[in-house]
Every structure is written in C-alpha cells, then in structure tokens.
C-alpha cells in the first residue's frame, strides 16, 4: 500500500478536521479565549487525527500485505477467497463477494475447458485407432498385390502411419503416466522393429542400413522408444544426401547405455543444434528440405524427458548422430540378477 496514495484518499477526513479546527478556533476566539490555549487545543486535535490515521494506515497495511503474501504462496491464485478470512469491514465484504464470484466463474470455466480437452483427446485417440483399420486394409491390399506401384504406396502408407502415431503420442505426451510401461527390453529388437516400420521408405530411398550387434538390455517402454527411433529414421531419410547410410550402434558409458543413430546426411548447422528440439523450429535445413514441421524432434525430446532418456544431437563433419542415453539402474539390474 502506497502511503502517499493513502494520504490522498484520506484528504476529505483531513479537510473536515481542518475545517473543524478553524471553526472551533474562531468560536473560542470570539468567546475571548487566549491565543495560547486555542493553539494548544488545535495542536492536540491535529495530533489525535494524525495518530488515528497512522495507526489505521499501519493496521490496514499489515492486513493487506498478509493477504498479498498468501496469494503469492498459492499456486492457483484464483482460489484466494478460500484462504482469506471473511473481512469485517462493510466495503471489504463487497470486494470479498466480488472475489468469490470471480473464483466461481473461473472454476467453472476451467472445468469446462478441461472437460472439452479430455473429450477432444479421447476423440483423437479413438480417431487414430479407427484410421488404423483402413491403413491396415490398404497395407494388406498392397502386400498381396506387389508391384512397383504398390511399393510406392507402401512407403506412403508408412508415412501416413508415422503421422498418425505422431498425433497419438502428442496427445499422450501430456499424461504419459497413463500409458507407460517400463520393462526390460532388448535394444536390438526395438531397433529392428523400428526399421521394419520404415522398411519401404528406407528401401525406396536406397538407404544402406547397418545394425551393429547390440546385447544391451535397458529398462524403458518399448512402444515409445520404437516411435522415437522411427521419427529419427524418417529425419535421416528426409535430410539425406546421395548414397544415404544409416548406422545403429550402442556403447556403454559408465552407468549409461548410449544408442546412436548416425547418418551421412546434410547434418545440422552448429548455430541450429541447440534449437532443434524447440517446438516449431526448422532452421536452415527447413529452408532447403520441404515438409519440415518442427514437431518430430520436439515430440521426441518431450517423450524422452518423460521417460528419463537423454536425447542429444551431434553434427560434426559428416551427417548427424542422434544419441539416446538410457540410464542403467544398478539397483534394478542387480536385483533382477539375484
């Protein structure tokens, strides 16, 4: 509370009192009182008024600051009327009522937005499951009638499937705990299944794929890692050069298993490398290659963060190397060994 502003607000009180002092002085003077006694009386009056205002100011300030600090401690500030005491002053009670009303309408609004959001999310999930039926049907149709034409269609179908998965995981990434199951998985298996998901895309673009033998077992959710790898594969294909190469290998570093996905593509400019996981960022590569959305890596990073997997990008010299780093929990692995 600003002291000067407070004083300004109290101006009528001060003026009324001043008027009172002057009237009383004039009256006392007319009655033949001495100047000294009138001055004394005026000073006492003035002092009492000032004291009253100061005490009131202090109390009020303390009360209001208390409320402010309470509000600051709250995460959801709009529920402040639930924590403060019902004020005693008549005008404060009106403001309290206003706050209550504001809170209620806010809560209603939040409730309806949340409901709408979860309905929309459910709809998206349901839609994705529905669209997978025609995708499956088309895929079977193509595989039963192999020709150069259906091969191209199969590659496009892989793209469609990847985009629908992207939407599904985007919707899920908000509440990952709902659909998240950590198990012991074999890196080798998940890499091969991710490659299988992009088989036609890789073949269509004549990508030379090599997978080093990986014995490592990590604890994570297989579906999510498979999705992430698939995004990385599609990026490697998107930003390829002539005679593209894709190399998967794993290394062990202290208590981490690092899974590297290395390509010989156009790479990432050093100025862009710290930004590639930002939503909507496409950078220099986005200007040379069409269909850069800035969603894929953002989503990968987000999923990795939720799963506790480290995701880093390296681009020195030739191509890009994306590294997924899985922590080995000694406690869990030792426990299982025993």
């Amino acid at each position: 509370m600003n002291g000067r502003q407070y004083l300004k607000n109290q101006l009528p009180v001060l003026l009324v009192n001043l008027l009172g002092i002057i009237t009383l002085s004039l009256f006392l003077l007319a009655c033949g009182n001495s100047i000294q006694s009138i001055l004394f009386l005026s000073c006492v009056w003035g002092a009492v008024v000032l004291l009253y205002l100061t005490v009131l100011y202090r109390r009020r300030k303390k009360y209001l600051e208390n409320m402010l600090s309470m509000a600051e401690q709250l995460e959801e500030r709009y529920i402040i009327p639930e924590v403060i005491k019902i004020p005693e002053r008549a005008d404060d009670q009106v403001f309290y009522q206003l706050l209550k009303m504001a809170e209620k309408s806010m809560l209603e609004k939040i409730g309806s937005v949340q409901r709408e959001r979860s309905e929309y999310k459910e709809y998206i999930e349901q839609w994705i499951h529905e669209v997978k039926t025609p995708i499956t049907a088309l895929k079977l149709l193509c595989e039963n009638n192999r020709s150069p034409f259906t091969r191209e269609m199969l590659a496009e179908l892989e793209n469609i499937n990847r985009f629908t998965e992207q939407a599904l995981y985007y919707a899920r990434s908000e509440h990952p705990e709902k659909d998240y199951c950590v198990r012991e998985i074999n890196l080798n298996d998940v890499v091969h299944s991710a490659i299988a998901d992009s088989k036609y895309l890789l073949r269509q673009n004549h990508v030379t794929v090599t997978v080093d033998k990986m014995e490592n077992r990590v604890y994570t959710d297989e579906k999510w890692v498979r999705f992430i790898l698939n995004q990385l594969i599609s990026n490697a294909v998107k930003y390829r050069t002539n005679q593209p190469v894709l190399h998967f290998y794993s290394t062990r570093k202290e208590n981490h298993v690092l899974l590297s996905v290395a390509d010989n593509g156009i790479g990432i400019a050093q100025s862009d490398i710290s930004l590639i996981f930002e939503k909507g960022f496409t950078g220099q590569n986005g200007r040379t290659v069409p269909n850069a959305t800035g969603i894929g890596l953002y989503l990968c990073k987000r999923l990795c963060d939720k799963l506790g997997i480290g995701l880093t990008a390296h681009s020195e010299g030739i191509g890009t190397r994306m590294v997924l780093s899985f922590q080995i929990n000694h406690f869990v692995s030792d426990f299982l060994v025993e």
Binding site: I135, T136, L140, R146, R151, Y180, S193, T210
Partner: protein, 225 residues
C-alpha cells in the same frame, strides 16, 4: 513337402481386412475360415476346430476379450490378438485372459506370419522341416549348408535366406525386389548391389558342388530355380 494344412479362424469385422488376410494366409499355405455372424462365434469355432485364432478386440456384439475368455473355458488353441489400440491396458488384458500374442495394426505381414508359424510350432510340436529339396539339391537350414549328391558347401546367413526364399517359391519367378523384401523382413538389410554379389557367390558355390545353372536369371523379372 506334404503336411497337414493348418486351419486359422479370423475374427475381424472389417471386410477388406478379412478378405485380404484370407488371401495372405491362403497364399502362405493355411486354410482360412472367416467369422461372418458375430453373435455365434463360439458355435462356429467348435464346428470348424481351427488350430489358431486371429482375434480383433473391437467387435460387434461381444468384445475380443469376452470371446477370448469364452474360448479359454473349453480350449487351449493359440489366440493372437490383432488390434488397432496399442495401450498397455489392452495388452495386459489380452495376456491375462489367455491370449498368446498381441499384434497392433497396421502390422507387418512378415511379423504376423512369423508369429503364426512359431505359435503353431509350439502348440502342435510340428515335425521340423529343416531340409528343403528341389531338383536334387537339399538346403539344410539348421547347419546352413546346401548338398547335392555327396557334396556339401557352407552358406552365409544371407545366402541361406536367399536360397530359402527361392526354394519356398520353387518353380516360380522371384523378383529381386521380393527377395530383398524378404531379407529385410529377416533383419538382413541388403541392397540391390549386395543381392547381385550374393547371387553370384551362391552360383559359384553351387557350381562347386556340381549344380550348374541351378538359379536361372529371367531378364528384367528376377530369378527362378
């Protein structure tokens, strides 16, 4: 190779997937039955006595989970859940109710076929058909060798898979693309050039054991044995 055809029952409500799965499985040597009346699945199942069931979860009338638990009251046949919803809850449910495998749509047909084959093998202890023969040549899968008269030669992983594919499709033209697809499905990421190199090496080895011109090239079409 003469062995009993295994019967597979497809419980799936999408018409295109039904017919295409039937085409795929028939082409791979299975006898296929399709459920058309979803209110009487159990009756049909008891009548047709399939060796394996492909079961969708989202179905008219009863859900796949209900059907699975009904089947489990009287039979142990392998059940593969094939579904478009890939939530962990569904996967867990399918295992709890006695499903043997869980495959999500859109599935890789190679993986589906491999799952079917391995489940059938496990459930019915099939005789091992590890030796394929054609025109006097015998392909031994277990030892990765090919034999002709009394001569034998060792083969690499790629070579075995290529020959396996040719033997499986013996008498038919196999396009280079199909062979490469098959190799990729077996996690061997071979490109077109490498296939030529492999074929050349196989021919060399076959000549070594007295099989000349065993693999014939059909110009612009592929290979045939």
């Amino acid at each position: 190779m003469i062995f009993m055809k295994h019967k597979i029952l497809i419980i799936e409500d999408d018409f295109t997937i039904q017919t295409q799965l039937k085409t795929l499985l028939t082409a791979n040597g299975y006898e296929v039955h399709i459920v058309t009346n979803f209110s009487d699945i159990i009756h049909l199942l008891k009548e047709s006595t399939p060796h394996l069931v492909l079961l969708d979860i989202k179905l008219p009338v009863n859900s796949g989970f209900e059907i699975c638990s009904q089947i489990r009251t009287f039979s142990d046949i392998p059940i593969i859940f094939v579904t478009s919803s890939n939530t962990d809850m569904d996967e867990l449910n399918s295992i709890m109710l006695g499903g043997d495998a869980f495959i999500t749509k859109p599935y890789n047909t190679a993986i589906l076929l491999a799952k079917i084959a391995s489940l059938l093998k496990r459930a019915y202890a099939l005789p091992q058909t590890e030796v394929l023969t054609w025109n006097g040549a015998a392909l031994h899968l277990e030892s990765s060798q090919i034999a002709h008269n009394d001569h034998k030669t060792d083969l690499t992983k790629n070579e075995v898979k290529i020959l396996y594919y040719l033997f499986r499709n013996a008498g038919k033209i196999c396009s280079r693309n199909d062979i490469v697809d098959f190799l990729w499905d077996n996690q061997l990421y071979v490109d077109d050039n490498a296939l030529s190199v492999n074929i050349a090496r196989i021919r060399e080895k076959l000549t070594g054991i007295g099989l000349t011109n065993f693999i014939k090239t059909k110009h612009r079409q592929g290979y045939i044995i």
